[in-house]
Amino acid sequence: MKQLILRRLGQALIVLAGVALMIFVMLRIVPGNPIETMMGEHADRATVARMTAEMGLDRPLPEQFIQYLGNILRGDFGTSYALGRPVTELMAGAFGNTLILALFAALFSWGLGLLAGIVSAVWKNRAPDRIFMGFSLLGISLPVFLAAMALQYLFAFQLKWFPVSGTGSWKSFVLPAVALGWNSAGQVAQITRTSLAETLGEDFIETARAKGRGTAGVVLIHALRCAMLPVMTVMIIQFSSLLSGAVITETVFSMNGLGRLMVQAISGRDLPLLQATALFATAVAVLGSLAADILCALLDPRIRREA
């Protein structure tokens, strides 16, 4: 077991190093001088040249890369061009909001998805199944930004049940979480339905049923436990797509989060900020899937034995 965890950890580290290299390469092929954006309309050329030198952007690429790696290891991501603050400080504030948003969204999507999936599997090919599966396909096909805009317009602006935007209180997180989780809920529902329906058809469930346990008991205790593994894998992979969706949700709801920070970094051509947010968000995704792997291994006797 320990060995398995160590191996996965090693793989994750290699992937992370690859990610760091890829981000560096992608961001150095950009044309244009980022300093000029930071300084705006009235900047004079001497100042631009001086600042470029100060930030090391005029040095050869390998040298810049070594410096970049060193900085990552020391946790120093530089200063945001556009916002004039240390990037770590900006990310610290934003990450908390994104984490809360992702957790709210995950809870919503897992809850709704599991519920819909169980109902669909139990009443397979009957009305509840049709309705829920219709909704789940709708969920998968609905762009996050449309869901976000519609919820904001209806529940915040027209009905005034929730704040329009921001991160002021827990209420501010409800609509964005629903918008964000909607999509994943559809996927969780589909996988739960498939997996559970399969398990329900298997022999040992029939046996349990024959032993005289009620339908509800059979479904929940036996079948669900067996059907959970693929569902859990999907749920945790969803976490990465939640991070993708957070970019759009945070933008629509003006939440000070990692995703919006990235959008800002791009429109402001803010190199240090983009570099750090992209790296950080991807690292979170990688660690998330690592956690998923390990969790699955702990739960699944087959993988455990393999190790």
């Binding site: 300084m39 556009a82 603050r85 934003a94």
Partner: protein, 524 residues
Amino acid sequence: MRKILALILALGMLSCMAAAEDVEPGTLRIAVLYDISTMDVARTTDNYMVPMNVFDRLLETRPEGDASKVVGSLATDYTVSGDGLTYSFTLREGVVFSNGSPLTASDVQFSFERLLKLHDQNTDIPLEVVGGREVMEGAAEHLAGFTVADDTHFSVTLTAANAGFPAELTAPAMSIVDAETMSDGFGRIPAETVGTGPYIVTEWVANDHYTLVFNEKYWGPAPDVRKVIVLVEPTAATQSYKFKSGELDLIDLQNLDSAVIAAEYKTMPEGRVVSRPRVGINFMMMNEKNEFLGDVRVRKAISMAIDVDQIITGIYSGDALRENGIIPNGVWAHNDRLEAPAYDPEGAKALLREAGYGEGQVAFELAEDASATDSIKLVNLFVSQQLRAVGIDARIQSYDHAAWLAKRGAGEMDAFIARWGMDYNDPANIMYTFFGSVENTVGRSLNYPDTAVIDRVAAARAIVDDAAREAEYQALEKKLIQEDAVWVPMFAELHLYAIGDRVASFTPQWAGFTDFFAADVALK
């Protein structure tokens, strides 16, 4: 089980419905599209909200009806020597900074020299003082032209006479800071960003919001607004929702479409929409280095082919002033007798034929800054369509802000819709910036070739007599626009704001800046 669930849901809904939180009296809630990057004017040319409200300047430009005038602020009075070179100031007595440190003449000297020593932004004005260059380059510790007589009296000597100097001192850049308690955290850490103005910054959560609170030690009359919360809200549509659901007290309408303003804001009760003309000008810049745009007949044809009045009525719903020259409405020396080039597409075609160009032969790029407002992007589309109608191919090319600046600064942009907002009320602020030197015309992608005119523009700064200076600027303007057709003058937007139920009245900054003095807001 079901009952409990229903109860929980109902309770949840109820608590949500009571969303409208009570607002502390004296609080003003506003929103901006982007967070500020600094609170220090030595490091920015556009984050002026904090400098304007937390600091004072020696003099201030105040709106007076539709016009404006320069009035005393930290300086109560000043005199000018006969040769126009030396200004002597008297400081207001008893002014202290928000940390209790008294204001003295040496603080003013320190503020001037600090801009030069940091050598970052806004160095132009202190550079006019004798010895400015030496301080900036580190060759001298102090400005040779700055003499402190005593704590409340000092004089400043310029390298060349500049009648616009008092107006320049009202620019946010010339904010006065405290020499004794200056620290590293200044401009970055709220508690260390100390000024004499009506407000102090109490918190700044990057990318989220910052808060201004009334400064109990302020020397002037106490304002209605005791607290300002500035929210970072990057989407115009969301700002609009927030204003309408009572989460904002004042909204800047410049990022909304005029049709939306007409349908959703101008329908509010009388007086809720406040406006101030932007003292500045939008115009179409044409680069004379371009093979077609170098021909004055092509430039004149372009100015005849664009129906500016339709832009004003169609895109701006009439909320823009027609501009016909260089020096905009609201600036002294503005010439309101200057005539606009008439909209005449047939005449434009004839002129192009005369210049020897057939249909589609004149082709250039109309550059668009990706960060421009939606209205300006519509103007670009419309201009491109109108030029196509007279056989000119002006293809819109979008650049992100950095690339746009780089291309323009290198003098290589063919044509673009530009906007210049006045920093202070003096014609030099636009004439000199665009035509005062060869480098200036290159840096703006104008590449204006007539050095005789350039020399005259530079010399006009030193004319001491206001009337003579006005006449010279107006003569130059006529030459540049009517003879040389350097650019197509278009319009100055009316800057619109809407005020919510808690606000009684609001007076925008004199030039219609996005930033304003919170003390100019009166609450109910």
